[in-house]
């Protein structure tokens, strides 16, 4: 009873926080009534979501739920049908320099003529300008970012020779080079090896500890509670958002996935929550 009471007080406190954050104009990402449609079928419909600063947030939902679409719309790279997106209280176009994006690694052709360091340098072009040539300072920074993801030895490797996990690390290093305050990642842990998964999560946690905000499309329900502070559950519409402990519940998962998740399966996922 005591525990339950404490729990509900905590929820009130968190909701209070969230309400306060909504008023604050500096919320890293604020989405209101966002609808995106490919053709005449909405990929996401009227989604409201607020993402608080200095947290790691998972966007979770079944295939075709619009997870990738949501972050692409937040980045302004798919057209919005309706709704608004505010990043640090401003329209996307004015704060591009504060956002970094890690696309799905399968979205590019890895036989492109580039070395690992060249790809990381792409994260610097916005600040460097599209004309000036990169000097030793930029190269140093690119190498430092590669070092952070454990790929410094691969700087001169052709990108076509990398494994899937290494490709993902290179993409993360490119985002690190952007030195952003808001990181949006599309399935960064999909199909990577265990060592890469640990490295990526370490980097994301360190970003969070530096006060940056990290939003990941995430597919692995069993690691949501372990890796993330908050979760946004969507299936075309928003199902729930908030701290993992109070949001990642059986009921919400059932609503998100419909009959596709067996009750016993959900039981297993709930274990590590404190």
């Amino acid at each position: 009873m005591r525990n339950a009471l404490q729990g509900s007080i905590e929820v009130v406190a968190r909701n209070g926080e969230a309400a306060h954050a909504a008023i604050s104009p500096n919320l890293p990402l604020l989405i209101e009534g966002l609808t995106v449609s490919y053709g005449e079928k909405p990929a996401i419909f009227s989604i409201d979501a607020r993402f608080a600063a200095g947290r790691t947030i998972a966007i979770v939902g079944p295939n075709g739920a619009g997870k990738s679409t949501l972050i692409k719309a937040a980045l302004g790279i798919v057209p919005r049908l309706s709704g608004t997106v505010r990043v640090f209280g401003q329209p996307i176009e004015q704060v591009r320099g504060r956002m970094a994006y890690v696309p799905q690694r399968a979205s590019v052709d890895w036989d492109f003529p580039a070395r690992v360091v060249d790809v990381v340098m792409m994260g610097l072009y916005r600040t460097l300008g599209f004309l000036r040539f990169a000097g030793p300072k930029e190269r140093q920074r690119a190498l430092a970012c590669l070092d952070r993801v454990g790929m410094a030895d691969f700087a001169k490797r052709q990108i076509g020779q990398l494994s899937g996990g290494q490709q993902q690390r290179v993409f993360l290093a490119r985002a690190l080079a952007q030195d952003a305050d808001l990181y949006l990642l599309d399935e960064p842990l999909a199909g990577v090896d265990a060592a890469t998964e640990r490295t990526i999560m370490d980097v994301l946690k360190s970003l969070k500890n530096e006060g940056r905000t990290v939003i990941c499309v995430h597919h692995d329900l069993s690691t949501v509670a372990q890796y993330f502070d908050d979760v946004l559950l969507i299936n075309v519409r928003k199902i729930a958002e908030g701290p993992v402990a109070s949001t990642f519940t059986d009921g919400n998962l059932q609503k998100t996935y419909g009959g596709r998740l067996a009750g016993a399966h959900i039981e297993q996922l709930r274990l590590p929550v404190e």
């Binding site: 692409k72 980045l75 302004g76 790279i77 176009e93 591009r96 956002m99 970094a100 994006y101 696309p103 979205s107 590019v108 052709d109 492109f112 003529p113 580039a114 070395r115 060249d118 790809v119 792409m122 072009y125 916005r126 599209f130 004309l131 052709q158 490119r174 952007q178 060592a195």
Partner: protein, 403 residues
């Protein structure tokens, strides 16, 4: 042959020198530009643009004649060709965005319709102004024989403009070609960049009309880029190499055409650049065919050698002919199949390295070096002597002597 050499050395007279320099500039601009449409995987769009110049040429000719001017004015024809090619590009873009048709179908439809319309117009012109047929056919396959000074200057200026635009846009175009979505998040307007790239293609196409002709201009855009791709893994160098290949092809092609005036310039340029492509395909150090065959054979030998040595060490019989041949060639076995002294030593070493790797994979599960085992990589190249000594200590003396 002497005529060809003279032309190469700019000794064939003023006109030939002019044409040679013009063709070289064109080749460089085409090679550099073509690199980006090749990387963006839109090679065929440039073919649509090239074929779509024909109705523009004809309409410009008719308009200039109608206004009492000289129908053959190159600048006027270039403006006309650029106009109709631009319309075609907009159409391809519109069809592939707004309808459910894929881009290749849009290209096929637009290319053939524009070209067909151009042929009809050309026939009309031939009946209409029988006295001054103007040789518009020369724009189909190119002809440099009668190039005027101001025509060469026009080509040179347009080539310089293309080079400047390339410099201005190369980083944006690289980003868009590799990862358009990421490019968009850094504030690059992807559509505008694609349009600018197509604008560059237009410039090259229009200046290439006179030299190689509209049917073959696509070859000047694409062949240098794909040939250059064999030599490098970096975009900057790719552009430079493609420009050199294009320039050399243009220059030598024009020289050949000056020496043998009956051979169409465009076709010769394309054949020369194809020759450079064939050389690249065969002999480029990493991606070339010879290099990859060599690598494959060497790899196969390594595998057979290793398997053979392990079989010797374990006392297993070897039946594979290639394995026996390789072992014999390396002096590890005698002709009768019995292991020599060096063979036994190498076999024991192979066996011990296997055991070392087994320990290494257990103790280094977490880091990259443990994952380097592939049965072939020499353990000394991955671990330090100290680490190997540690593996040996763990193995103990279960396995025989190391040579």
């Amino acid at each position: 042959m002497e005529g060809f050499l003279n032309a190469l050395l700019l000794q064939s007279g003023y006109n030939a020198a002019l044409v040679g320099i013009g063709a070289a500039l064109l080749g460089m601009a085409a090679g550099g530009t073509g690199t980006f449409i090749f990387l963006r995987k839109r090679s065929l769009v440039s073919d649509a643009a090239a074929h779509a110049t024909l109705p523009g040429i004809c309409l410009a000719f008719m308009a200039m004649v109608a206004f009492g001017g000289d129908g053959r004015n190159l600048t006027g024809l270039m403006v006309g060709s650029a106009g109709s090619a631009a319309v075609a590009l907009v159409l391809v873009d519109w069809i592939s965005r707004e309808t459910r048709l894929p881009e290749d179908a849009a290209i096929g439809a637009v290319l053939s319709v524009f070209f067909g319309f151009g042929i009809v117009l050309m026939t009309v012109i031939q009946t209409m102004t029988s006295g001054r047929q103007a040789g518009l056919e020369s724009f189909l396959l190119g002809s440099t024989a009668g190039m005027l000074f101001n025509e060469a200057v026009t080509i040179a200026i347009a080539g310089a403009v293309a080079g400047f635009l390339l410099l201005l846009l190369h980083r944006r175009m690289t980003l868009v070609a590799f990862d358009p979505e990421f490019a968009a998040t850094t504030g690059i307007d992807v559509r505008a960049t694609d349009l600018a790239t197509m604008g560059l293609v237009l410039v090259v196409t229009v200046i290439g009309l006179k030299v190689v002709g509209l049917v073959l201009i696509v070859a000047m855009l694409i062949i240098p880029a794909v040939a250059a791709r064999f030599w490098t893994e970096r975009v900057d160098r790719l552009v430079a190499i493609a420009a050199v290949i294009g320039g050399v092809s243009g220059y030598t092609g024009a020289a050949a055409s000056a020496a043998y005036p009956n051979v169409p310039t465009g076709a010769v340029i394309v054949l020369i650049s194809f020759g450079l492509f064939a050389v690249s395909l065969s002999f480029a150090p990493v991606r070339g065919v010879v290099a990859s065959v060599y690598r494959h054979v060497r790899f196969q030998r390594q595998v057979h050698l290793r398997q053979g040595l392990l079989a010797v060490a374990r006392g297993e019989p070897i039946f594979d002919g290639l394995t026996l041949k390789i072992l014999r060639f390396a002096g590890h076995i005698r002709a009768d199949g019995v292991a020599t002294l060096s063979g036994r030593a190498a076999a024991a070493k192979a066996l011990r390295d296997e055991a070392r790797w087994e320990v290494a994979r257990e103790t280094h599960q977490e880091d990259v070096s443990g994952a380097r085992y592939d049965g072939l990589t020499a353990i000394e190249t991955v671990f330090t002597p100290d680490e190997i000594a540690e593996f040996d200590r763990r193995i103990g003396d279960r396995i025989g002597v190391v040579a």
